[in-house]
Amino acid sequence: MSGNDGRTPSDKKWKYIGTRPIRHDGLDKVTGRAQFGADYALPGMLWGKVLRSPHAHARIRKIDVTAALALDGVKAVITGRDFPNVASEAAEGGEGAGDMADLAMNVIARDKALYHGHAVAAVAATTARIAEEACKRIAVDYEVLKPVLSLDEALAKDAPILHENARATGHEPLPKGPSNVASRREMGRGDVAKGFADADVVVEREFRTPMVHQGYIEPHAVLARTGQDGRAVVWCCTQGAFQVRAYSAKVLGVSTDMIKVIPTEIGGGFGGKTTIYGEPLAILLSRKAGRPVKLVMSREEVFRASGPTSGTHVRVKLGATRDGKLTAGEAVLVYEAGAFKGSPVTAAMMTVFAPYKLANVRIEGWDVVVNKPKVTAYRAPGAPMAALAVETVLDELAEQLGLDPIDLRLENAVHEGVQATYGPKYRAIGFVETLRAAKSHPHYKAPLGPNQGRGVACGFWFNAGMSSSANVSINEDGSAVVVTGNPDIGGSRASMALMAAEELGIPVESVRPVVADTEAIGYTDVTGGSRVTFATGMAVIEAARDVVRQLRARAAQIWSVELDAVGWEDGRAVLLAEEKNGHEPLSLAQLAAKAANTGGPIVGRAALTARGAGPGFATHLCDVEVDRETGAVKVLRYTAVQDAGKAIHPSYVEGQYQGGVAQGIGWALNEEYIFDKSGVMENAGFLDYRMPVASDLPMIDTVIVEVPNPMHPHGVRGVGETPIVPPLAAVTNAVQRAARVKLAELPISPPRLLEAIDRSA
């Protein structure tokens, strides 16, 4: 980093970051003024509707749209044939973004429908009702094929094959010929056999978790307007406007400059809005119809046809000595990718043992296709299911060794200088600190009643860097505007403003943070990967420092001194020399007022690919009570401890911890995709998908540990994803202790738990 001082984050006194100002976009959001994806409308706008496959696996022989086109009010109908073939290449974006060719086929099916709900055709009409009626009049001739609905079915001999021409990639041994295995990879080091031989205790367990959805409350929505020149303007709720632009351009076979994406406010994403679904359809419909087209998914469509995360089958084996030192670890991770390759199994392989010192590890990861929606990133993609296995096995080891579960983890916890199981050595990290904070928390000592149990679990996520751009401009009166390209999904505008305020030395209220469209700011990767406050924040800090350099230069010019003679302290240019010659400090506002006469407007810029993302570790405590007659589980108390590096806006850091915990509790206890035998999701609505409601949860206590990330100028680590990693295991461990059972499958639904209780009795 090129800063204007050499101080490290930890010895700096912060003035603005770490405070809790009202978020800048807050007023619009509490008054209903904020415009989300479906809130935009244009004159002459048409309504789009997608026809979706009623079969989970079928060859599309023929599509006849004549009757639909004949309906009064129908202005355009499109099918897969209206789209160009897209070449295979890696799609850059959220975890498991996969391959462009697959992404194009996921947007609209060509020869084959690969899951129930796969888009087959789309219509634009003058009303939503007419568009819906038109969809019913499209005749599709399907050859229905047997679907593959589970990992076991997919891997069975003689399984129906989703992609006949694809071949497994990765590390041998691989299936020969067509299979549903997209890839098989191995990772590891040391001598696992010897490690297990050295162990006094070995625990091995298998777990299954179902496909689950991010569950954002705002359905995907897009409004597209295409001109006679083919240029499209797209309003949509997305985590990455630049990804929408890049992907849509590829799917439509046009150049990037033909599409401008204006990100609307976004009603949740959690990874699920890092890709495209209706965007290219709306663009093409609007091009064909010559009118703007709005396409909004129903909740049912969100469940059936957007990207949840993988169902998994995980086997973990850990060995430890009598005094609790881990000697070896082995993990086999088998993840559903959905209809196209690209599950988050690689991330799972890298995270599975990451919190622990393990010299001997062997990790195997399988990416397997099934006739279900193609998975998309979901908060710490792949990691929670892997952590479920490791953390429950650790709990069992602690029980068998008679050790406190936190002590066992402390004994093996990674710290600075330890080589991670995924390769490199850790720099400064705060895992041990989270364990110690959890152990000394009153929660950990609170007494438990009958049928109650306490679970401990830990989690890790890398946090991503990727590319970001930022502009900071100074207004004539000394206030400032910060422009970035990351949609604000949870208060990031406030964080950007805080970091700029800190650097500029002006109140955070004087900084207006703006989210710009793809033509108003340089390339910026997704709002995801816990990267916005870290990476885009880094760009904002650099841009603000660019502004400060310019301000110092203006002061130097006014004072007729060298740039080096001018410092920047608390929002003012100061002459560093002992002898001031009557040069009083110049405030930012004073310099801004003179800007036009000292060289023109002051605008700072930064564009970077962020390095040095600091891993985030968490330790969670969960208390539950079990009803032994019905199998119901009540979460009584929950505490999430996590290292934030430096919490820029602590309220929103706490909010990230609490939100991740709530999602994790839902995943552990109730959430799951339930499919019937033909591959139709039976619970495609909020009634039966069962996300936690307010009365299901207790207050969620948080402890923010701050071990600054040495690679970030303000010490920031990403905080968004780690919080969902421990809860699956924390809840499972708590239930196992409360009910005195061993569990092997999520969700821990009442029937499943009651069965386990009755079996153990």
Partner: protein, 83 residues
């Protein structure tokens, strides 16, 4: 001499070695040296990967021009996105 580490998945490509010491000033030279020793290695470490140099994870493309110190430790990793 920078030290390069190989995870078990890559080890088959390099004759089973867990790590190797190589003379290289930057990552591009390192990859060239590895590719000369083990033809096809550079292709295997494609764009879909990241490279960790002394604990700092850097996307493949950007890492190519990264200077290496004699005591540098290099790991090849899959690239991680997020959610």
């Amino acid at each position: 001499m920078a030290r390069v580490f190989f995870s078990s998945g890559l080890r088959r490509q390099v004759g089973g070695a867990e790590s190797l010491e190589l003379e290289a000033n930057d990552v591009r030279e390192l990859l060239a040296a590895l590719d000369a020793k083990f033809p096809g290695f550079a292709a295997q470490i494609g764009e879909a990967n990241a490279i960790a140099i002394d604990g700092e994870i850097i996307p493949h493309g950007e890492a190519l021009f990264e200077r290496l110190r004699p005591e540098s430790e290099i790991h090849f990793l899959p690239k991680i996105g997020g959610g």
